[in-house]
Symmetry: C2
Subunit: 256 residues, 2 copies
């Protein structure tokens, strides 16, 4: 690949610039172009699409990393926005986020900082892919998913993605049965707060819970993942329930 056509790839995550997942993404993406990592300086799980608007943010180059790397004292979305507008000198050809240590299929999408970074790339008009693995262990050896990540990223670099579309990719732990393109499974979290008291008697609550499915389709991402498939869910940021626009117009519209 000559210098003129070298692709530029922005990499981010929500686990922090030092995580194993982002090191794997950096390794793989170096085979596809020039990479720049812009990631939170600390763990940002559960941050969803939050942005820092109540204080300014800053970044610094991490010189000890084996790739070009900037840490940001902000959220995953802050990282992508700062990367695009203050760190990179040209628009990247691809944005990848992850590899997240924890499944981001189904309703987890809405809580996920990894997918938020991916949506932020998509909003900026850049082909973007979020990668996650269905294991919360930060020590999990991830190398065996590298080749699949390479193939997906290469396809997206070559063919692009439709306007406004990004990919949510989830890996099972261990040998995958293949790649399945899925819809987001209909599921919900049933919360279970764990109560703790301090010495003054004040009560504190740790958020905990279980994810429950509301459907059984083998084409649903969370189900396919549990069946051993690597899942790809094409996503957009249009929340509209289009099929109800006419019904709700009849129910709610008025003229003053």
């Amino acid at each position: 690949m000559n210098q003129m056509s070298e692709k530029l790839i922005l990499i981010s995550n929500d686990d922090g610039f030092f995580s194993k997942g982002i090191a794997l993404l950096a390794d793989v993406m170096q085979r596809l172009g020039r990479i720049v990592v812009v990631a939170p300086k600390s763990q940002m799980s559960g941050q969803s699409h939050s942005i820092t608007v109540v204080r300014p943010i800053s970044f610094k180059q991490e010189m000890d990393m084996p790739f070009e790397c900037y840490s940001v004292d902000g959220t995953p979305v802050d990282c992508v926005k700062l990367g695009l507008h203050r760190i990179l000198t040209k628009k990247p050809d691809l944005i990848v986020a992850g590899v997240n240590h924890g499944c981001n299929a189904s309703i987890n999408t809405i809580y996920s900082g990894t997918m938020a970074a991916t949506f932020a790339g998509c909003e900026a008009g850049i082909p973007s892919v979020g990668f996650s693995i269905d294991s919360d262990s930060k020590q999990e050896c991830l190398d065996y998913i590298g080749d699949t990540i390479y193939r997906i990223a290469k396809s997206v670099l070559t063919n692009g993605l439709e306007s406004g579309i990004c990919l949510n990719v989830n890996f099972p732990v261990g040998q995958s049965r293949g790649i399945k393109v899925c819809h987001q499974a209909n599921a919900f979290w049933e919360e279970n707060f764990v109560e703790k008291g301090d010495e003054e008697g004040e009560k504190f609550y740790w958020l905990n819970g279980e994810c429950h499915l509301r459907e059984t389709s083998p084409q649903a991402d969370l189900i396919a993942l549990h069946n051993g498939y690597t899942t790809i869910t094409p996503m957009h940021t249009d929340f509209t329930a289009h099929h109800l626009l006419k019904t709700y117009a009849q129910r709610f519209e008025t003229q003053n």
Copy 2:
């Protein structure tokens, strides 16, 4: 209305329990049933769907408020989850969030703590509505939108909403031309970080930007809002780009 049939309404927001917007919602909802306010103890704008998972959260009853009110040291989504599982003793009939001081139409939905609280209610299977007004002034007199809020909330309490659906309601400032049911406008934020330095020469960046439309349809929520309509956008939390499932299956699927 007798005691047996009294409706229970949970109210939250992202501006904090002390804001003018939530006081208006509380006033209006008291005409429809028993209300309980569970809201952040401080300003939580831009928090999106973030949840607090790295520390426990706590709440306390605010005895000086003119309604039953609990403040939470967490995000809007934390408030709804804690309200449902630790504060209320039965499932509410309706969840309302807002009134947010600032427009939550179009792409703002994904950044909005108000809409995140609404989606959290929806995820829990409870009819939920988020209300916002197209003015960032925290001092704006909001009383003139009270009657419309009442009518929308009463309709939802009476008829419910389809499973998995919630409403994103946005008010223009001043006289509205009526209620229009809209789709989420296709738009994006163009960031413009404002750079500031401190005495040691470290640089800081304030996130700033402008929202740009990618469409012109008068049925798009942001456009209808700017044309003077109160907009209702029926929303769900399915991010799947369903129209691309077949195309992407051909492009990406493999069998191992």
